[in-house]
Structures are given as C-alpha cells and as structure tokens.
C-alpha cells in the first residue's frame, strides 16, 4: 500500500515536471543519458599542457587547461591543437584522478586536432567512435570535459545544426569540414572534449563557442577526426596535397549555366595550378575522373578535402569547363605547407620570427617563399633599437639571402659567436624594402620580469 502511494507520487511528480516544461527527462531518456555518460566518462582526460608562447619578441611558457578523451587501451588521447599545440610538456589527469604525463604525437592546425600518448603501461578505458554523417538536428548529445577547469563535467543538449558552414574569414577557419552546432553547454576548458550521442559514441570534438552568444557551441565532426588521428598516429602529421586553387560555390557566380562543378575563384601565382594555366572563373567538374559539385557553400569543405587528399608528387587530372568548353589539365600536387610556420626566439637581439609560409608569402606579395617573418620585437632590445618591426620580412643578413628559418638560425649562431659589431638586415616592410643595422654589442635592456603563472587559461 505504502509502496503504491509512493509510486503514484513519483508518477504525479513526473507529470508535473513535464507539464511545467522543466527540462527533466522522462525515465527512459534519463537512463539513456546515464548509460551514455557511463560509457564515456571513464575515458575523459583533463589536459594541462605547458605551452610555448611568443609574445612581444620573447619566448614564454604558459600553463593552459583543456579536455581530451582516450581512444585506445594503450593510451592515445585526442584533444584540440589549440590546447596541446606548441606544448613542451602535457600533464593529464584521468577520470580516476591519476596524474599521467603525455607526449604529443602530432598536431594538425587546419583541423585543430592533436594526438597525445599517455606514458603508462596499464590498460586504459577508451571511447567508442561513432559517425557524424548521420547526425540530425534535434538529436540529443552530451558534452564532457573541464569547463573553466572544472573536470568531470557533463552537459546535455541537442544538435542544433549538423553541418554549419562558417566563413573562412572568421577565426573559425575550418577548410575541410562543416561544424556540428550544439546547444549543450560548452565553455572555455571544454575544448578537446567529446560530443557524445545517446549510444555513448563520440560524434564530435568540442572546439569553439560563439562569444557573446548563448548555447551556440561548435564541435569538429568525428568522421574527419578519425582520418586525421590515423594519419597523425602513423606519420606524426597530416600530409595534404596542394594545387593553389580556392573555390566558390556555383551560386556565387550569377552567369554560370553549368549545373555541375565548382567555381575556381583564386589561383595562387606560385602554384601548380598557375603553371597549368588554370584561371579564376574556370569551373572544376571532376578530379581524376570523379565528379565534384558544390552548389552551396556547405558543399565547399568536401571539395577542398578532395583536393587535399590528392597524393603529393603524383599527377592529377582535373576536368574543367572554360567558356562552356570542357578541358582537361594534368598537374602534380605539391605538399600543402602549414598555415602557421614554426616560430623561434632570438633572445640576444630581442625578437621572434617564424617561417614564411605560402600564405605569408602571398600576402606580402613575395615573388617566392623566402625570408623569415618577424612575429614580435622586444621593446628596448637590440632589434627594436635598430628599428626592426613586427611584420617585417628579413630577406638578407649581411648580404646573404635567408631562404628559411634554418638558414637564419645558422647565420645568427655564426654572428653571435663572431666579432662583428654591426649586422645588416635587409627587410621587406609592406610594399617597401629597408635596411636595418643591428648593433650586436649594444647594451640590451634587461628582460621584463616574467608574469606570474596564469591558471585561468582554459581552452
């Protein structure tokens, strides 16, 4: 009797909750959430990398926090590149509170994915990877991770849009996929954590929030994550083909009659495509005989992925339409260079510099990729006193061409050990060139004191 009343009470309460519109799930939904959480939670990792940052002409270290998840019993962990990239060491806290060091296996800036390997011999719990191509708006998902450093947090929501295209011009640059947009609470610190369906399978990697908005979070779809992770584990990085072409969807050009294909909008002047005399306005209809089509901008990441998947160094055949006439061109794919060149600090002179990537070379209107890009200048340092500025591209040192960061390193080491008082840099500054004379014996200002450890750097 008593038990029955009790049951009635519970049923009444549940009904009330539903009637009043509370977000409480019915019993079936609740248990599904719990089942999914229990499958994934043991494999969640709280990630604490010490990152190398280059700021105002100096190299500094910074402790950041993020999330990650174990994908194999032997301890491979997936997280975001913006969490674990450029880190010198990574400490991980597992779900049983064990602290384990991890090494960075590899990172991929363009998809914002990093793979870590936990340095432990004991077998570990791991997640099951699902599929992201079958997601549907409205489907329930969980986000797990460490929002604002609060480990073991779970939040619940739905898929808002399964394939959100965000323009490349924003900071949300994602050339090869559309984002999963979700209203599950995602905060700084959630980065690298999994987005999970109610079967307890990972469908995405939480990576971004729209600042100023509420309940607008974005995850990287797991389908591309799986490919990138496999490449990183095998090669340490992702190797992509590059032809030097940018695309626009067919709807972007009003006067196109073709139903098929994708518009070529830009051809890099120093690229295989330029050599093959491909022109903006040409329409690409097939790659190696397989059709490509992008009617809407959501279709563009798929096309870019097709080009990036071309084997480097091998001949590819593109089928084009030019002025309505079909045309076939053959060209050899080059390896795509990283969006972000490696960076280095030159303490004695007080500046930092990075490799000139294809993108930097293009923006600086360089006739070829050469020189090093000054990424920061330490106020009061010798470089600053000489008039070197952030954004300068150092083309020559003492009249010797500097094609790469490695070449500059060699010159720098030689000059540091040598006796020369004055060193001449020939730099490109915007459209102009300029001579910068560094006095290597000048008393450099003492280094600014290091800022205190900032633990609020959730990613």
């Amino acid at each position: 009797m008593k038990r029955r009343i009790c049951a009635a009470w519970i049923a009444a309460l549940c009904g009330l909750a539903v009637l009043t519109g509370c977000a409480t799930l019915d019993r079936g939904g609740q248990s599904a959430v719990l089942r999914a959480k229990r499958r994934v939670a043991p494999a969640i990792v709280h990630v604490r990398p010490v990152k190398e940052v280059f700021d105002a002409g100096r190299r500094k270290e910074m402790l950041v926090m993020g999330s990650g998840f174990i994908i194999s019993r032997d301890g491979y962990v997936v997280t975001n590149e913006h969490v674990a990239g450029q880190s010198t060491s990574v400490q991980c806290v597992l779900s049983d509170n064990r602290e384990v060091q991890a090494r960075v296996v590899g990172t991929d800036v363009e998809t914002d994915i990093a793979v870590l390997k936990l340095e432990t011999d004991s077998p570990l719990p791991s997640v099951r990877m699902g599929r992201s191509d079958r997601l549907e708006a409205g489907q329930s998902v969980l986000a797990l991770g460490s929002p604002h450093g609060l480990a073991r947090s779970v939040s619940l929501g739905i898929v808002s849009v399964p394939d959100r295209f965000l323009s490349d011009k924003s900071l949300m640059e994602a050339p090869y996929y559309n984002w999963i947009q979700t209203d599950a609470a995602i905060n700084p610190g959630n980065s690298g954590g999994p987005l999970v369906n109610l079967r307890g399978e990972v469908v995405g990697v939480n990576a971004r929030v729209l600042s100023g908005a509420e309940n607008v979070g974005f995850a990287i779809p797991v389908d591309i994550v799986k490919d990138v992770v496999a490449d990183i584990i095998e090669n340490g990085h992702v190797r992509r083909g590059w032809l030097g072409i940018e695309f626009q969807e067919m709807l972007a050009k009003g006067d196109v009659t073709s139903e098929e294909g994708v518009i070529i909008s830009d051809v890099d002047r120093l690229s295989p495509a330029a050599e093959a005399e491909i022109k903006p306005g040409d329409i690409l209809t097939a790659v190696n005989g397989r059709r490509v089509h992008a009617r809407y901008e959501e279709d563009l990441p798929g096309v870019r992925l097709r080009i990036a998947s071309l084997p480097v160094g091998e001949t590819a055949t593109l089928t084009l339409l030019r002025g309505g006439e079909p045309l076939e061109v053959s060209l050899v794919a080059e390896e795509k260079t990283s969006l972000r060149g490696s960076q280095q600090a030159f303490e004695e002179w007080g500046f930092t510099a990075s490799e000139v990537t294809t993108e930097v070379a293009r923006r600086a209107q360089l006739q070829r990729r050469t020189g090093i890009l000054v990424s920061g200048v330490d106020p009061g340092g010798r470089a600053a006193v000489a008039g070197l500025q952030q954004g300068d591209i150092v083309l020559q040192v003492d009249g010797e061409e500097i094609p790469t960061l490695t070449a500059f390193n060699a010159a720098y080491a030689r000059l540091r050990d040598g006796k020369a008082r004055l060193v001449m840099l020939f730099v490109q500054r915007g459209a102009l060139t300029r001579f910068v004379l560094v006095n290597t014996t000048a008393e450099a200002a003492p280094a600014a004191s290091e800022p205190g450890e900032d633990v609020s750097n959730e990613r």
Binding site: E246, Q248, G254, S265, D266, L422, A431, L432, F435, L437
Partner: protein, 464 residues
C-alpha cells in the same frame, strides 16, 4: 561693490598684469600692437560655411554635414584660405559659401574650392561674385620667429559669441628646422583660430595657424598632427601668388618625381659599409616604372650628390628635405646623381617625371546601377595596400546603403578586376563595362574582384 566698479578694477588689474611682464619689447605685446593689428586684420577674417559629404571608411556610407570654419582673405580679387579639413580623403565639400563683413553689413558669396595643395594642410577658395571684387587682403611678411616669442593669433570666437573676431596670445614652443622651418605653438588654440593670421610683437603677419605637416612621399609617412603650428609665409606664398587650379585633374601639377625611398646614412651605416662618414641617402626601395628604375638606380646605392648638390643626410628629416628638392627640380629635367655602389663612385643620369597622382586626385566613377563609387588605383594606394604591379583594377570607394552592391557584400577597399566578362583594369574600362550593362540590362552579373590577398566572384543583381 557695484558690478561697474568691479569691472573697472578688474581691467586695471589685468592691465597691471600685462604691463608687469618682462621689460624687453621683444618678449611681450604692447596692447596697442594687438589692437592695431586687430583693426587692420579683422576685416580680412571671414566665415566659411560649408556642407561636406563624409564617407564612413568602414561601411562606405555617406552622410552630409554642415560646418563652419575661419577664412582669411589673402588676395583682393577673392582668394580665401581656410582649414585643410574642408577637403579630406573621407570628406568632400559639396557647397561652400563665404560670409564677409559683420553685423548688418555682412554679405554671403558662393565660393569655389581650388585643388588642395599636397604640401600643406590648407584649402584655397575663390569667392564668386558678379562684379570684380576688391576685398581687404592680409599682407604677409617673412620675419623669422624665435623660441619662446609671443605671437598674437586672430580668429573667430565660438558661435555663442556670434562668431565675433577675437585674439589669443601664444608662444613659440619649438622650432622644427627641417625640411623647412616650422614653428610649434603652445597654448590651447581653438578651432575658430585655425588658419588665423599669426602676428609678431612688431605687428607683422608672419603666417597662419595650421595643423598637420603631412607628407606622404619621401621615405616615411611623416605627420606632425594634433599640435598647432605656424605655417609661416614661405610655406604658402607660392600658392597665394599663383593659386591652385580649379580643375582637380592630375595633369595640373608640376612637381617632379624620382621614385625612390631613402634612408639617411648614419655613422653606423657608414662604418658598416666602410664609406666616408659624411652623410648621404641610402636607396632602400626603387619603385617600379619610375625614373630611378630607368636610370638603373638600385637599392643599396648611396646618393652622395643630386643635380650637383652634395647630399649629406644623417637624420630622417633630411630625407624630407631631399624629397622637397626633387619636387622643386622640375619635371622632365635630366639630372645627374653621384652614387656610391658597393663603395665605388658611380654617376647616373635620371630624367625626372611628373609626380604620380595621389588618391585625392584619383578619378572617380559613381553610379546607381551597382550602387558603387570606384576610383582608379593611384601609386600611393598601390604602396599602402602592397599591391603587386599585375593587380590592375579599380578600387571601391563607397557602397550605397541598400544598393545591389551592398546586398552582394561588396565593401570599400575591394578591387574590381572585371564586371561580367569585361576586364576593368582602368576607370575608363569600368565606365564602358557599366555602359554595356545599362544597354543590355542582364538581370544578374558576376563581378570578379580581389579582397585582400584573394580573388573571388560577387553575384550582383543590378538595378536599372
């Protein structure tokens, strides 16, 4: 104490304060000098009333605004000088009137804006009248000023004081000696006093108040902004003697151009290159399609003489003096340059050409079919935006709100390379392409353009 008595006491105290200053006449003003100058100069002060069209650099939207500034009659036939802010890269006057005289005798005349000189931040106006004018013009003298010297500045009080002519006293706070002598003023010079006549203690008008000494050429972009200066007579007497043309086309200027950017040869540079430490100009950049390039001048050359004159630059401001020298040398003149190339003396001959047009003089085309105003890409814009020589197009200056171009997301700064299948490498080609549009009226066209470092297509539905 009655108000009357208070006022007279205050006047006595004020007078006492003024006369208690240092005894040397040079150091301070006699009240009679100020009042005498006021009598002479106030008839030459006028009010410039204008309507400007101002463009928002980011959105390209334009709006009109009314304003007024001080004008100064510098020639009896109706030449008036006023603040350079009347014509700026983002503001153009659409209507200008000049109010002469005061009270019941005041008369308003329409005025034409003459081409803004690019060496000084002043605008000259030509007052329009049916009969020949005989206005009370200011006559200038060329006395130099000394540091700390007091000067009286005449201008207009604020609108709440009915724009009554007034006077301020300031001192010369710094003397900038290159490329040409300019004086900085202390004190709070109010807006109505900008372009006001500057009078020394002897009562001579030695210049006008100016802001910004901007020069876009000559190595670095130099501006001395935000600080009141004296534009002394030498800086603008040429413009008064032969006023700028009313025609804004670039052909009307006669300044010469070599096409190099230079750095001064400091002692450290001389030591590094093992050359004599007697100054000079290091050529850092040789511009494409320039007289310098044709003459074979290379970056790294050191200019030791120009047209027979020794070049002894050691400081950044010496570079400006060199630029000025080149400008004044004369278009189409062939000059010889003494260079040091890798330490060895070399002589080259360069034929100077006309200074290329600047963005302010660029031809513009505005139309409603797309809702765009575009300009030709001038040399200075090409340098500023770091555009390669093979980028040939027209640059979007303004986008009309609600226009087809705005709907297509075309923004100011976009460089239009083709409209439909018509390349638009020049303004004339762009005009022709739009002419074709108006004729054929396609419902939809494709605009090929460069945005930053990338090209792409904009889909536009023109409005006919």
């Amino acid at each position: 104490m009655s108000a009357e008595r208070f006022r007279s006491l205050a006047a006595v105290l004020l007078f006492a304060a003024v006369s208690a200053g240092p005894s040397r006449a040079q150091d301070d003003f006699a009240l009679s000098t100020i009042n005498g100058a006021y009598e002479r100069l106030s008839p030459s002060l006028c009010t410039v009333l204008f309507t400007q069209e101002v463009t928002d650099a980011r959105t390209g939207e334009t709006r009109r605004r009314d304003g007024s500034s001080l004008g100064l009659v510098v020639r009896a036939d109706g030449l008036v000088v006023t603040h350079g802010h009347l014509v700026q890269s983002n503001a153009e006057p659409v209507e200008v009137r000049v109010r002469l005289g005061k009270g019941a005798g005041a008369k308003e005349h329409p005025a034409r804006v003459l081409k803004k000189p690019d060496d000084i931040n002043l605008v000259f106006l030509k007052v329009q009248a049916d009969a020949p004018l005989d206005l009370p013009a200011v006559s200038f003298s060329k006395s130099p000023l000394v540091l700390g010297e007091p000067v009286a500045v005449f201008g207009l009080s604020g609108e709440t004081l009915d724009l009554e002519p007034g006077v301020l006293v300031a001192r010369v706070s710094a003397i900038l000696d290159e490329p040409r002598t300019t004086y900085a003023l202390d004190g709070n010079i109010r807006f109505g006093y900008v372009t006001g006549p500057v009078v020394n203690t002897r009562g001579e008008v030695v210049g006008v108040v100016g802001f910004d000494l901007g020069r876009a050429e000559g190595g670095e972009l130099h501006t001395r902004s935000g600080h009141p200066l004296v534009y002394q007579t030498e800086l603008f007497e040429g413009h008064v003697a032969s006023p700028p043309s009313e025609d804004a086309s670039p052909g009307s200027r006669e300044e010469a151009w070599l096409g190099v950017f230079t750095q001064p040869l400091t002692s450290d540079f001389a030591e590094y290159w093992k050359v004599e430490d007697t100054g000079g100009l290091i050529v850092s950049t040789v511009l494409p399609d320039s007289p310098a390039l044709r003459a074979g001048i290379q970056s790294g050359d050191i200019i030791k003489s120009f047209d027979g004159k020794p070049m002894e630059a050691r400081q950044d401001r010496d570079v400006l003096a060199f630029t000025q020298l080149v400008r004044d040398t004369g278009v189409d003149r062939t000059v010889s340059l003494g260079l040091l190339r890798a330490g060895q003396p070399v002589t080259v001959e360069a034929t100077l050409s006309r200074l290329p047009a600047t963005a302010q003089e660029a031809g513009e085309y505005d139309d409603a079919v797309l809702g765009l105003a575009v300009r030709e890409i001038t040399r200075d814009v090409r340098i500023l935006l770091n555009l390669a020589e093979d980028v040939q197009g027209v640059i979007v200056r303004r986008v009309r709100p609600g226009s087809p171009a705005q709907a297509a997301n075309i923004r100011p700064g976009v460089i239009i390379l083709a409209v439909g299948d018509q390349p638009t490498t020049t303004l004339a080609e762009y005009e022709a392409a739009l002419g074709q549009l108006r004729e054929k009226k396609p419902p939809e066209i494709s605009v090929f353009a460069r945005v930053g470092a990338q090209t792409g297509f904009f889909r536009v539905q023109p409005r006919y």
